[in-house]
């Protein structure tokens, strides 16, 4: 047997635990007596045990502790650890809570355990802030899907208007078809360059022009946009078209249109009503797709454009400015805008 220091200490622990045979214990006693620097194998251990007992005057606590909480009964780990964590997580029953509190008063190991478990709570550092929070903020208006559709339709309408806006003076006579085809439209874009805008017929020569005329800007504080209708066809042809429209159930008015008259402007009384497109016609050749030539009061704001303005809550804005040489008209529906410059006569 090699009586090293480690071996002797291990045997002494075995002796205190009662794990040595009588023979080995005797050998160990003889050895430590010979070498007293290793200590003695007296009766210290039982006395130490007695002194520990004095710290726990309540037998009931000794019997109960350690105990494991039901919440973690299937988890591995020491009971004292489970109790502390369950207490922190609020998973103890009322009875377990009482037992824990009692044990915490007298059991230093539980106090230590409780201290460590409490330190496991993560505390956010309030000084840490998201950098550039402003970049996350939004200012755009949310436009529901139906408004996108409405806006798209409105854009088409305004595009039609834009193409048909007269470039020079009053509306040309509709009968001079070739003239209409070749008359360029002056438009001032944002770069202040005068460009020639395509006329209706330049895109689809078979279509009839839709002309928009601005009436009485001086008399009418809130000028209206009107669209007079011009037909070159005979009244019989027109009547036929209207009959077809009526039969097809298209949502258009079928009142007489004064198709063949040469009226290029009509007198409208001054009005304080909001600006809007009050008369509006879309036609494909002789086929009238939409329009109200002589609207009733209730129909005046029932045109597509006004419906769009109402449904999208985007008013049609109409502004006008002029200088010595030209007149600029600005029409806007939401984010769609048309700016047109017209030379003065």
């Amino acid at each position: 047997m090699n009586w090293t220091k480690e071996y002797i200490e291990a045997r002494m622990i075995d002796a205190m635990d009662g794990n040595l045979s009588a023979e080995d214990l005797q050998k160990l006693r003889e050895y430590v007596q010979e070498f007293p620097e290793f200590g003695s194998l007296g009766d210290d251990y039982p006395r130490l045990n007695d002194s520990l007992m004095e710290q726990f005057p309540e037998d009931s606590l000794l019997k109960k502790f350690p105990f494991a909480p039901k919440a973690y009964e299937t988890q591995e780990g020491e009971a004292i650890e489970k109790m502390a964590i369950a207490k922190l997580e609020g998973l103890l029953s009322e009875r377990e809570e009482q037992d824990f509190d009692q044990a915490l008063k007298v059991e230093s190991s539980l106090q230590k355990e409780w201290q460590f478990v409490n330190q496991s709570i993560l505390k956010p550092d309030k000084d840490i802030l998201f950098p550039n929070e402003e970049s996350l903020l939004k200012e755009l208006r949310i436009i529901p899907w139906r408004s996108y559709v409405s806006s798209a339709v409105a854009a088409c309408i305004l595009f039609f208007l834009y193409l048909g806006w007269p470039s020079q003076g009053p509306t040309e006579n509709a009968t001079s078809k070739s003239k209409l085809k070749t008359t360029p439209t002056l438009l001032q874009n944002k770069k202040n360059q005068i460009v020639t805008a395509p006329v209706w017929t330049a895109i689809k020569p078979s279509l009839k022009p839709i002309n928009v005329e601005h009436l009485n800007p001086i008399k009418n504080e809130f000028p209206d946009c009107i669209i007079p209708e011009n037909y070159t066809e005979s009244s019989e042809q027109l009547a036929q078209v209207l009959t077809q429209e009526k039969q097809s159930g298209l949502p258009i008015e079928t009142s007489p249109l004064n198709a063949m008259n040469n009226q290029t402007s009509r007198t409208f009384p001054a009005s304080n009503e909001p600006i809007g497109l009050k008369e509006f016609v879309i036609q494909k050749g002789n086929e009238r797709l939409f329009g109200t030539a002589n609207p009733s009061v209730s129909e005046r704001y029932a045109t597509i454009a006004n419906y769009m303005a109402k449904s999208t809550k985007m008013p049609i804005n109409y502004e006008q400015s002029e200088n010595e040489d030209s007149e600029t008209i600005y029409l806007r529906l939401g984010f769609i805008s048309i700016e047109r410059k017209r030379a003065k006569k």
């Binding site: 988890q75 997580e89 355990e113 330190q119 956010p124 996350l136 903020l137 939004k138």
Partner: protein, 161 residues
């Protein structure tokens, strides 16, 4: 929810989301990306998300982003974690808070996530379960194991000090 609800959610939760993400990924740029992505997704679904549940939606989005990232980079992350362990073991600083942070960084991804949701935001087990797709029992176990690990880790530090 409206735009003002959205903007209010930015003011209310952006910092908290960032702290949460930063604690979990330990990378300011990545944490910032997570928060920005969460708000971008919220903006895209602004008309579908209930204003009352916006906080839950944002945290769930960040949690999912973290989980996705963890799955994608699992091998790489394990390698880095091993390196970190060796490096930190050589350090001689005994700053308790730093050590606790180190302990948190050694938790598994899911343990860290559920623990930060629990401690930072005070979510219940049920709420955490809904956000992470775990069961309540799983959340309970993950939190128990995380606390047990941290407790042991802190205990080691005390001994060292």
């Amino acid at each position: 929810m409206t735009v003002s609800d959205y903007n209010q959610s930015v003011k209310d939760f952006a910092d908290r989301l960032y702290r949460f993400a930063l604690k979990n990924v330990n990378d300011p740029d990545l944490a910032k990306d997570f928060v920005q992505d969460a708000y971008e997704k919220l903006w895209m679904k602004i008309d579908q998300v209930d204003a009352q549940k916006v906080k839950s939606y944002l945290f769930r989005t960040v949690v999912n982003a973290q989980i996705d990232r963890a799955r994608r980079a699992k091998l790489q992350q394990n390698h880095l974690a091993t390196i970190n362990v060796h490096q930190t073991e050589e350090q001689t600083s005994f700053d308790v808070q730093e050590k606790i942070d180190e302990g948190v960084s050694r938790l598994t991804e899911i343990q860290r996530t559920v623990l930060t949701l629990r401690d930072y935001e005070g979510y219940t087990y049920q709420e955490i379960a809904e956000m992470t797709g775990l069961s309540e029992d799983q959340v309970k176990v993950y939190i128990f194991r995380a606390r047990r690990f941290l407790k042991a880790f802190i205990g080691q530090i005390e001994v060292l000090i």
